[in-house]
């Protein structure tokens, strides 16, 4: 967590760290419910990632703005209320412009409210840093999260439907792995991905 490496351009540093070094999915292991639930196909995963980016940036900025006003144990409740407000906005935007996706994601959009990633960033970053840094931290963590979702979704969609983004890409006679569509496939994929990322990154 030390910020020593990037003393000159803190905002850019916060942005880049979110992408890989502190990748929410593979490194911090937070916000797992949607990681598992919406990654059966790439499209819903990207929609979910975009909603999370929107909510994360807005809540980071607002929390950072009011960080001097709210102190003590009411803080967490205020964070949650802020997040809930933006999630409501995101939910209604999705319902209006992407009704099909909204139907598919169902209760997982409102469940962004209790996504540990967003509360975690509010507490760990936005509550301590200025607006500019929090804004870029939101972008970094949000995009890092979306990359994680997209990686899961690509693997699952490829193996389950032999397709990516709805376009068939596998050879003729490819047998679909139905298990990847099921919850079991989600758990197994994430477990194996985490294992692989540990294996290749810890060796250094």
């Amino acid at each position: 967590m030390a910020n020593n490496a990037v003393p000159k351009k803190p905002a850019a540093g916060f942005f880049i760290r979110g992408l890989w070094e502190e990748s929410p999915v593979f490194r911090q292991l937070i916000g797992m419910c949607p990681t598992l639930a919406v990654t059966a196909q790439l499209k819903p995963a990207i929609t979910m990632g975009a909603s999370v980016i929107f909510v994360l940036i807005c809540s980071n900025v607002v929390v950072s703005l009011m960080r001097k006003l709210v102190q003590g144990h009411l803080r967490l409740l205020m964070f949650t209320m802020t997040i809930a407000t933006f999630v409501t906005i995101a939910d209604y935007l999705l319902k209006a412009y992407l009704p099909e996706m909204s139907e598919k994601l169902g209760a997982y959009v409102p469940l962004i409210i209790v996504n540990c990633l967003i509360i975690g960033r509010a507490e760990a970053c936005a509550n301590r840093q200025g607006v500019w840094i929090s804004f870029w931290d939101g972008w970094g963590q949000g995009i890092g999260y979306t990359i994680g979702l997209a990686a899961m979704a690509t693997i699952r969609e490829l193996l389950a439907d032999g397709a990516i983004w709805g376009h068939p890409v596998m050879w003729d006679g490819f047998v679909n792995w139905n298990v990847m569509k099921l919850p079991a496939g989600a758990f197994l994929t994430l477990g194996i991905l985490l294992g692989l990322s540990n294996h290749f990154l810890r060796k250094k």
């Binding site: 598992l36 409501t88 209760a107 919850p183 079991a184 496939g185 758990f187 477990g191 294992g195 810890r202």
Partner: protein, 195 residues
């Protein structure tokens, strides 16, 4: 009598067939984090069951009796969160006053429950499924119980995993997820029970 059968089906469905942890992926964070000892897992499960039952019923009442009649359903997420937070606070105060030993046992779990996905999840799904009052009561209790069952099974397995010989890179979260995947397959056996 029909009503009773229906309630039993709702209960079984939410505990076994549509278990929140295994099919809806809710409450995964404590599932991965806390579930390394059976007693701890059971304590967490009991606290969650308590809170889901209370907040499921309360949020149903607020949603159906207040928010929908006055035409403000867009406030429901904010209100649900408030209901859950106040329920957790209430339970905490009540236990501290009257059941000191239980309070000490639940310890740090109570405040964490506010952000447990199972609790908000049940409030949202009750709204989505359009359940009535009794079904909501049974389903909220069942959701908590299903969570407890899942987290206790997992803790039991993890206690034994400590002696398993596995590659270093799989230790911790990865093996837990893979185990959960296999458990999910086992739980699919229940899916034939209802329709």
């Amino acid at each position: 009598m029909d009503k009773l059968v229906e309630l039993v089906i709702v209960f079984l469905s939410v505990v076994l067939v549509n278990n929140f942890v295994f099919t809806k992926f809710l409450g995964i964070c404590p599932y991965i984090g806390v579930s390394s000892r059976v007693e701890m897992a059971f304590g967490m499960g009991a606290a969650v069951t308590f809170v889901t039952t209370l907040s499921g019923v309360m949020s149903w009442l607020v949603n159906v009796k207040i928010l929908i009649p006055i035409g403000m359903p867009y406030l429901k997420y904010i209100v649900f969160i408030l209901v859950i937070a106040s329920m957790v606070q209430l339970v905490e105060m009540y236990l501290r006053k009257f059941f000191r030993s239980l309070y000490d046992a639940f310890g740090i779990f109570l405040p964490l429950i506010t952000t447990n996905c199972v609790v908000l999840g049940i409030c949202l799904f009750l709204d989505l499924w359009g359940y009535g009052f009794l079904e909501s009561l049974v389903a909220s209790f069942g959701a908590g119980l299903g969570f407890t069952v899942a987290i206790c099974i997992m803790a039991g397995i993890r206690e034994n995993l400590r002696w398993a010989d596995m590659p270093d890179c799989l230790k911790g979260a990865p093996i837990t997820l893979i185990t959960a995947g296999i458990l999910t397959l086992a739980f699919m056996g229940f899916s034939g029970m209802i329709k």
